[in-house]
């Protein structure tokens, strides 16, 4: 079984990636990077990462979230986070990245926050 499973769906013009598993150095980080890169190439630049199924992230995974945010922003898009588990929320607080990411607890609010 893959370290990180990613399912893609549309909510209006927002692409939601439902992530399930771990975002850690190696396979998990690479899978996320590839998925976000592909969406940007397909001109899908409103991206909502649903992290409800992600129970474990290391510093490489946090770095991948930051890189994804930066690369989507650079291309004129937006990347937001949905349904943080407590562990990820704690890591984003420790790293002060809660000041960087737009974070939502319910999908409809997140989707309507995209411009």
């Amino acid at each position: 079984m893959a370290e990180l499973n990613i399912k893609e769906r549309q909510a209006g013009d927002v692409t939601v990636l439902d992530l399930d598993g771990k975002i850690t150095i190696g396979e998990g980080s690479v899978a996320l990077r590839s998925a976000v890169r592909r969406l940007v190439e397909e001109n899908k630049k409103k991206i909502l990462l649903n992290l409800a199924g992600v129970g474990y992230v290391d510093s490489s995974g946090i770095g991948e979230l930051v890189s994804s945010f930066s690369s989507v922003s650079r291309e004129g898009g937006q990347l937001k986070l949905l349904n943080l588990t407590q562990k990820i929320q704690d890591l984003l607080a420790i790293t002060k990245l809660l000041t960087v990411f737009d974070v939502y607890e319910d999908e409809s609010s997140a989707v309507s926050a995209f411009k």
């Binding site: 850690t24 190696g26 290391d58 510093s59 946090i62 930051v66 562990k87 960087v100």
Partner: protein, 137 residues
């Protein structure tokens, strides 16, 4: 397991990181640490071994990563040694400063210091770097 010492020698590849964290979690669990503390030890070991594999040994599989878990009476001490060219932790910029927030790397040391009670780096006389992390029991 008073004063028990567990030693692991792993090759410098990404897959070894999970092996090290599994051992750490098993030992922390056996010592009766809380679920939160076990998670912290697991993550700190993950970051230390990642640094040893990726930065210290540059994923050169001929260079091992040596990990030691020592159960002292009041603490669990974990050491991770690489065979790299040395490491100065003060050279890593503070990732929480606003100018560094968007850096993709540089948060591993912060996690190690956050989840362990003491973390220190020393140069090993035989070469490489040793990070020593202590979790109070």
């Amino acid at each position: 397991m008073t004063n028990e010492i567990v030693e692991l020698t792993l090759p410098s590849r990404i897959e070894a990181i999970a092996e090290a964290t599994a051992a750490a979690a098993k030992i922390a669990n056996r010592l009766g640490l809380s679920e939160t503390a076990i998670y912290g030890v697991d993550l700190a070991v993950r970051e230390a071994v990642t640094n040893a594999v990726v930065h210290g040994n540059q994923q050169d599989e001929t260079k091992p990563v040596e990990i030691t878990f020592i159960n002292l009476a009041m603490s669990l001490v974990i050491t991770v040694r690489d065979k790299g060219n040395g490491f100065d932790p003060t050279s890593v910029p503070d990732p929480t400063l606003s100018e560094n927030l968007l850096n993709p790397t540089g948060r591993g040391l912060l996690f190690m210091r956050t989840f362990m009670d003491e973390v220190e780096w020393t140069a090993h006389p035989g070469g490489g770097t040793v990070v020593r992390m202590t979790k109070k029991l």
